[in-house]
Symmetry: C2
Subunit: 676 residues, 2 copies
């Protein structure tokens, strides 16, 4: 086995080793292994390794370490969380901490037990009976992590179970089409502690009385099913479309080191963030130390109890890595595909393979650049090739497709697509102000998807600054300003000196540049940098005093800048399950406020976090399965190079691209067209 | 010859016929034919035709008419513009108007004459001599239409000539890399009326004295050339990437009627707007009567004379159709390509073919929708196919790539890519507040690109309204509002009743919906509609009193709504060449203000105009040719259908898609990979 690179995820053997060490440490405690993952080395050591160790194998390697989270039956708590940091080189425990009152991410085995507990509860059964469901209905219980609303004691887990039914006898029937007027709260020890009847019109609140299911809400499957078994035959008009690369891919992979065109980077993966990217370089020049999706928060906007308990931290609570799809050739990705596997662990501490969680492939992206000299009519055109690293996660009803796109012009785009099925609630014939009726009796409630993209820059080194530039009209009647015809405009910029949150403003063309003030572009005379192309989005709507706001924190500003600290990876805090708030990015910033040595962000190792997303007030076109909704963030060089980095891309030729003419002249309308 | 559809552009025969009629009308005047184009029928007649005539051939057809613009030697003006509307069915002139003080779009033959006049002028020659250019330098004169700055009499054309040099003896050498300190103004009668020495540092103004060229600004071609003849060999790492469609395209074309998946539309083309789309339907349901790029304005932000004269109306002055590229198979488009030709006319009134001005092809666009049932682990995934209609224009130094993307989920995206070469100005060793130094002695000035997308909706009919919806947090301590936990939010909407300009606001998730209040969605209970996904952009920076603002008008608001009027197609007015202002969208709205019958926009035939673009403060990476800068606008159904319109797209299969696995296990890293 070759020596792993310090950024490599833990190998199966390392997972076994970490578990063995922890099991020995916790003798007799029967640990439930929730996490065995790489503890990334301190950046201080990594910088030294990357700068020296890249070339010089005699350079000391950072210690290889694992972060392990287990739950054990504690003295006072049936589900006590212990976190251990294990030195895999020495076999020693570096740190061991009992995290009282914290919960690890969702335990799917436990959730299934909660579901079963619900079904086994005679009161729940009686409630189901009183709904007088249609013949053949099969009840489905969907357990959700409890979003703190201040009404329950937090020391123990609470699970919210939502009820649906399947009317069609098929395992993939869309039960979200039949939300039931029932909801149960399940305690840590798997007891049903409360049953709710859900509000069903604008003025209604939770009720004591059951209300029988309204059989007029039963509707044709064509309105609500997405599975092809349950649908009419699909359209047949879409002809096959295939991508061939006769000389193979333009990328190469050695272990987790990915090289493509002038890019290099290391591909990482963990249970929580899913895909992570490390040490991203272009022509060997350092750009980013680490890029990752750091958190996601999906709060629902219906104010009526118990709906405020719907607010999902899809990374902190669920795990983007844990829920990453096993991607399929020809389905999730088109063309020549390289897959990366992930490794997690079982409850017993054995390695668990997560196959094909990341796919890597190239795409044609239209025209990279073109110019026609109007004097000669000579056109020069190059096509744009991009490298795509894609991962897809399923979080209960929803899917998210996350993709990094690398371009030949040295830009990076991060694309999020939201798809999947809307989380639904029952409704009568009324309309409410917090949702859309997407099928008879089915309310798709308003909600938000807020993402935090963590950008850990290393723009030509680690001392970076965040510069905010705006474009402003010059005054027209100021005797000190030469603007006689009123057309002048100029830029104004400032460099952020202390940690904090900032907002977007397209009206002033506000631009966020990550620059290295110590490296001046020899031609422009300005610091080298990369700019953020933000995704303009509404921020969190929940009131700042609400649990949603206090727990998520990152949703109040579009751009955050912080001083780099090891292990500060998550803008809503390390442990989001039933968190009480005050552990996220704004709290961290507040805690360092005034401590200039710790909070200065000018010419320092900084991290930039971009909050973006969508206020998703569903439309019926999102039902029964939602067409992908794209959100795109970009990072582009700005006076970093000495010219267009894609200038040396070869011009496009028909000889290479083998396109085919369609037209009357070839008689080719529907058949195979001859190549010209 | 078959009867043309009323939306079909004029055929060559019709162009000949129109010219013949006009020549007869203007006997002895020796007209210079600038425009012979379709005059689209009155919408009133077209609605009747489309509703009835689609099916019923006995329905009366609208009159076939041509709009003709000629210049003639007038009594007082050497270049008098006459516009004629010709009835091609009867051969009669419907309308004839002498447009005093107006100018047609740029006459390239005249521009070449202006260029020659400059070179022939002995004062200009003396100025060039005094520049003491390097040996072998070839001077290039770039004539620009004069952007009104109030300093010249407008009754005659003025041309601004900018000077550059080529140092490399190659016809495609990038002369923008060597802007010279010289500028000449040329009069209508081709006399050089003024010579400027350009300001070259922040505080400098135009000067009397010439300043010799600073030979230290001569730099290696690798920094400034884009043509492959003048560049080092290109990178060879990009492997071929081909698209094959073994069963042919999924679209079909009959004349200008294009059908694809459930879409149908008619493809139009004219000298000014270039590509236009008409009668866009999905499953036969009417969505848009007409979609087009209506105007573009590119004002430069340098306040120093004569730079305020740089402000280009790329449609009104140059013509997106006139300047449309002849697209090449395998270069501009990849895969199976159908091309459309355009027709224009010569100065003599003969038909002039503009070949391959529009390409039509399909693209794979990643995943359309996906869901994995977490209970069964069954994944259903469909890939998204899009239909692309692309046209590319060259306007002097710049290129714009315009593409409509039609999706299987009934959404439309309009993508603009800006590429080409920056317009440059000379600079000394100074830095100025209105530009970026991109090469020694080369200033790329700040400028804006503002586009106006004209959306003429017909959402299930022609009586439409514009609804503005926002998402707002509910108050937290209002006793009349039930929001105990502070998480509630709801939407507020209003319907616009009178014409005007509106602004974007992502902070309130402000959404613009074009709705048909007369057609209520049977499930959601709300009016059917389409929403605009805007491109968030800074509006025009030039002062409202400036000529730039007064001439362009549309740049002051992101969304405009007007009442439909035949021939109201251009938001900066019909004639933009040297216009004085007051002819654009806001003036039109102002002129109808108070006249409720003419300006009401609720339940009326309305037009929505979206202003978007970029404040382009160049980065050196845009030099010497700019990587495409994408701007995207979307139109999506919102409660128009009764579910996801792409639900019936067949699931993706490897059998159809024939993807190829790359990996160690197949030993396939660089060679041809076996299909699995």
């Amino acid at each position: 086995m070759s020596t792993p690179h310090p950024f490599d995820p833990l190998s199966p053997g390392e997972i076994v080793k970490a578990a063995t060490i922890v099991r020995r440490e916790l003798q007799g405690k029967d640990p439930n292994f929730r996490v065995i993952t790489l503890k990334e080395p301190p950046k201080r050591e990594m910088i030294s390794f990357l700068d020296g160790g890249h070339r010089d194998q005699t350079h000391p390697r950072p210690v290889r370490a694992a972060r392990v989270q287990v739950t054990i039956r504690g003295d006072s708590c049936p589900n006590e969380m212990v976190e251990l940091i294990v030195n895999l080189d020495s076999g020693l425990i570096i740190k061991k901490e009992h995290l009282v009152g914290k919960h690890p991410y969702i335990d799917s085995a436990y959730m299934q037990a909660a579901e079963k507990a619900c079904r086994a509860d005679p009161r729940v059964e009686a409630e189901i009976q009183s709904l007088k469901l249609p013949d053949g209905a099969k009840v489905v219980v969907e357990p959700w992590a409890y979003a703190t609303d201040g009404m329950n004691d937090m020391s123990a887990r609470t699970t919210m179970c939502w009820f649906y039914m399947r009317l069609v006898d098929h395992p993939d029937a869309n039960y979200y089409a039949y939300p039931l007027d029932l909801c149960a709260e399940v305690s840590e020890d798997l007891q049903v502690t409360r049953i709710y009847h859900l509000p069903s019109s604008e003025d209604e609140r939770i009720r004591k009385d059951a209300r029988p299911y309204d059989h007029s809400k039963v509707h044709p499957t064509a309105l609500s099913e997405y599975h092809p078994d349950l649908r009419p035959p699909p359209r047949t008009t879409t002809k096959p479309y295939q991508v061939i690369q006769p000389e193979g891919p333009s990328f190469s992979v050695e272990g987790n080191l990915l090289s493509w065109e002038k890019w290099s980077m290391r591909v990482g993966f963990n249970y929580r963030e899913g895909l992570t990217l490390h040490d991203i370089r272009y022509e060997g020049r350092s750009l980013f130390y680490r890029l990752s999706l750091a958190e996601m928060f999906v709060p629902y906007g219906d104010p009526r109890t118990p709906y405020p308990r719907k607010g999902a931290f899809d990374l902190g609570n669920d795990g983007a890595g844990m829920n990453a799809n096993n991607l399929r050739l020809g389905c999730d990705c088109l063309g020549l595909i390289k897959y990366f596997d992930g490794w997690h662990n079982t409850a017993g501490g054995e390695p668990l393979k997560l196959p094909n969680v990341v796919c890597c492939h190239e795409q044609d992206d239209g025209i990279l650049w073109k110019h026609t000299n109007h004097r000669t009519q000579n056109a020069v055109v190059t096509r744009s090739r991009i490298l795509v690293l894609q991962t897809i996660i399923t979080v209960s009803n929803y899917e998210y497709i996350f993709a990094f796109h690398f371009s030949q012009d040295a830009s990076i785009h991060y694309e999020v697509r939201a798809t999947g099925i809307l989380s639904t609630a029952p409704i009568n014939n009324d309309h409410v102000g917090y949702g859309t009726v997407v099928a008879p009796g089915v309310l798709a409630p308003y909600h938000q998807h807020l993402f935090s993209l963590r950008i850990d820059p290393a723009i030509d080194g680690h001392a970076n600054s965040l510069q905010v530039e705006e474009s402003h009209a010059m005054p027209i009647n100021d005797p000190d300003v030469h603007n006689p015809l009123g057309v002048g405009y100029t830029t104004q910029s400032k460099i952020i000196t202390t940690e904090g949150g900032l907002d977007l403003d397209f009206a002033s063309n506000r631009t966020f540049k990550i620059i290295n003030e110590g490296k001046v572009n020899p031609i422009t005379g300005t610091p080298v940098g990369f700019k953020l192309l933000p995704c303009y989005s509404q921020m969190l709507l929940a009131h700042p005093q609400s649990y949603h706001a206090r727990r998520s924190e990152f949703g109040s500003h579009a751009v955050w800048v912080t001083r780099y600290q090891d292990d500060e990876l998550f803008p809503s805090g390390q442990h989001t399950m039933q968190s009480l708030g005050g552990e996220g990015i704004s709290s961290t910033i507040e805690s360092r406020k005034g401590d200039v040595a710790a909070s200065g962000v000018r010419n320092e190792d900084i991290v930039v976090w971009h909050t973006f997303g969508s206020t998703h007030n569903p439309r019926i076109e999102d039902w029964p399965v939602m067409p992908s909704e794209k959100m795109i963030v970009g990072l582009k060089p700005v006076n970093f190079f000495t010219g267009n980095p894609g200038l040396d891309v070869a011009v496009s030729t028909q000889e290479q691209n083998q396109s085919v003419l369609v037209g009357d002249e070839t008689g080719c309308k529907t058949g195979v067209c001859p190549r010209l």
